[in-house]
Subunit: 461 residues, 2 copies
Amino acid sequence: MQPDEFRRIGHEVIDWIADYRERVADLPVRSRVEPGWVRERLAPLPERGEGFDGLLSDLDRVVLPGTTHWQHPGFYAYFPSNASLPSVLGDLLSSGLGVQGMLWSTSPAATEVEQHLLDELVGAMGLPERFRGGGVIQDTASSAALVALLAALHRQSGGTWRQSGVDGTETVYVSSQTHSSIERAARLAGLGERAVRSVDVDDVLAMRVDDLASRIESDVEAGRKPVLVCATVGTTGTGAVDPVREIAALCAEHGIWLHVDAAWAGPAALCPEFRHLFDGLDQADSFTANAHKWMLTAFDLSLFWTAHPDVLVDALTILPEYLRNTATESGAVVDYRDWQIPLGRRFRALKLWSVLRWYGLEGVRAHLRRHVELAEMLESWVAGSEEWRLVAPRSLALLTLAHRDGDDATREAMDRVNAAGDAFVTHTTVNGRFAIRVAIGAESTEEHHVRALWQALAASG
Amino acid sequence: MQPDEFRRIGHEVIDWIADYRERVADLPVRSRVEPGWVRERLAPLPERGEGFDGLLSDLDRVVLPGTTHWQHPGFYAYFPSNASLPSVLGDLLSSGLGVQGMLWSTSPAATEVEQHLLDELVGAMGLPERFRGGGVIQDTASSAALVALLAALHRQSGGTWRQSGVDGTETVYVSSQTHSSIERAARLAGLGERAVRSVDVDDVLAMRVDDLASRIESDVEAGRKPVLVCATVGTTGTGAVDPVREIAALCAEHGIWLHVDAAWAGPAALCPEFRHLFDGLDQADSFTANAHKWMLTAFDLSLFWTAHPDVLVDALTILPEYLRNTATESGAVVDYRDWQIPLGRRFRALKLWSVLRWYGLEGVRAHLRRHVELAEMLESWVAGSEEWRLVAPRSLALLTLAHRDGDDATREAMDRVNAAGDAFVTHTTVNGRFAIRVAIGAESTEEHHVRALWQALAASG
């Protein structure tokens, strides 16, 4: 494809996306296809090249019916995954440049723009100064948790982990509400699930520090080595906030790495009025917040900071001959390949940069505040309802609610709302009871969408 | 940003990329900036949003001078990383749709298009039928190697690895030419570098099966558990090809997982005349080939197949309550979150689909063959030279050469070529001697570019 063809077809693709975004609110949020429906409609790969029209036509004919529309204003499922249009353009620029930023020297701007943005966000989000110079973009919060665990293992071993691996006595701690991502990280790191301590939670589903303390103590007494505690600010189920400062004190006492996972809630730190949720973060060893969840940036872009980049780099670095270069050997640059699981890396910073410049910090804050206000509105309706109740306190823009008649009524309401196609909600369980999660955060969600969701739920009762 | 603004600005961004690609050949391949040059020119994040013009202007003013141009026709460094323009548009569509395909149910088309393409490529690349239904897109070959190792550990343990982790007796094997990626995977998996056996190579730098056999035997005798052998088809240094069939026989005898890493050379399997390089692949447990290296697809898109997806899924699966859904529980669908390190995933298949449809299989083959022909041409010039020699046999489109006067002359020639800005080559060492790698594979590289490179090298003598 020559640049002139790209110009012409590229404009068509841009228009296709603009059209899609204009009409997405009219499509059913959730795909209604059965397993296999999409595949049955796909042609074998062509021997000879074809134009781009066939692909665009297949998008309309096959892909859109098979798509669950995460950019739909009625998307309240999981967590938001906003691919704002400026971020789409930033990502397009990244693909267009086509650089691979594994080393500073393989494209200095890819590294330095990323360093700049992560350092600027330390100020804008009120993060501890010890994170300055320790920021990097990861693909996801699950990878970020794994990276934190690997650095923690390396530090705990006194630097022998790289050479000797794990010894089977290492333990990690996380509340029962955030169990799965850390369980998986522990598995990948060779510790096995048996290394994971699922800490009890209190009545607002936050980690109980007394239970954490007693688990750490009994592990230490048994000769095991506590390596990492993962505190969560905004759990997936209900948005619960673990008491970071108290947990940090315990970690400091035992020399344990404290990772704070705020994958969803993290961007709220841009707003001073929400910063109390992050109290104690100045004592954390690492922190993650997903720009691709609630900071308008197209997946995948997880922000990660550590106060100990030296430990991380020492844990992960390799330097085969073909990667040796003058800049690396000068020690004057950061090579981000040593900060992540894969070796290669995209120029992901461009999509974040596009977002932060287009909206400005005030624009992003306004977006967050609007979602929280919509959630407060819904909270007030639930509070006034005789049929519905919150099963956990509202957390920022996340509500967890259940029908007073019990699990069957809640599930039926969810299924009915989802089948209607105007909204998509998912569920969790709280103390064994089935509950609907309403995660408000799509860029296009307005008051009337939330009102319609509430009416649909209420009608289900 | 509203769809109409996106339409207007999107056209500008497309045009910026078209302009960039039109003039990239006139830019110096390698960035010439000093460490810190880019950062010094970046403004603080704005409080109030701004238009897109500032960003585009910063791209010209700061980012381009700080960019090493991987899409330049004179890029012979590392391995090619072709971001062909159809793949850029496919990636744009992925960002525009903004779906997150962690589960089949979170966007069925994202999973089913991927399954379709990976299965179609089994046929088109002549891969073993046992890989059908076992294909998935990973971000990079280093992640693919890690995923293979985790599945191998799980299988070797008889299914206890998930729960119990590693026990410190597991060993992995790779030739001294591919040491670093597997060393890193072993580290991440908790085995430590001490688990990695660096197998000797023969005079064409391929793994010596006799040395592999004796290392496996002595490990078994010592009570250790051989878990994985990584055979490489096309090593990074010189493109050496390990004898897969003989290695496979040894692996079968000992119940060892055989992973075949063809990150760069893998796409050559599209051409029947190159398939002999992959002889024995029908005995492999897993295989990886990077579409983002030599299959015209924008980074990041690594093709991975395993003959044992059930083992992989059992190793990596988690199912917290919030991910439960009817489709998953029916068993009728594949949830790709269980096939990779991160939880979330982009609709990456779109950029591969765009490439395969635009060029057609014949178009991709023509591209590969043209690069090999250019390498053969350069090979013939080296063969006729009194100053230069190949230090390893040409491998497809990769040559490794050295000046007959020794390391200093080779290094000086490399530095002079790279400083001139028309070409960028990197180096390796072969048997302790410094050698220049010429990896031909940029989409825009033509005969006259390779001729100019040769003249520049020859002039350096």
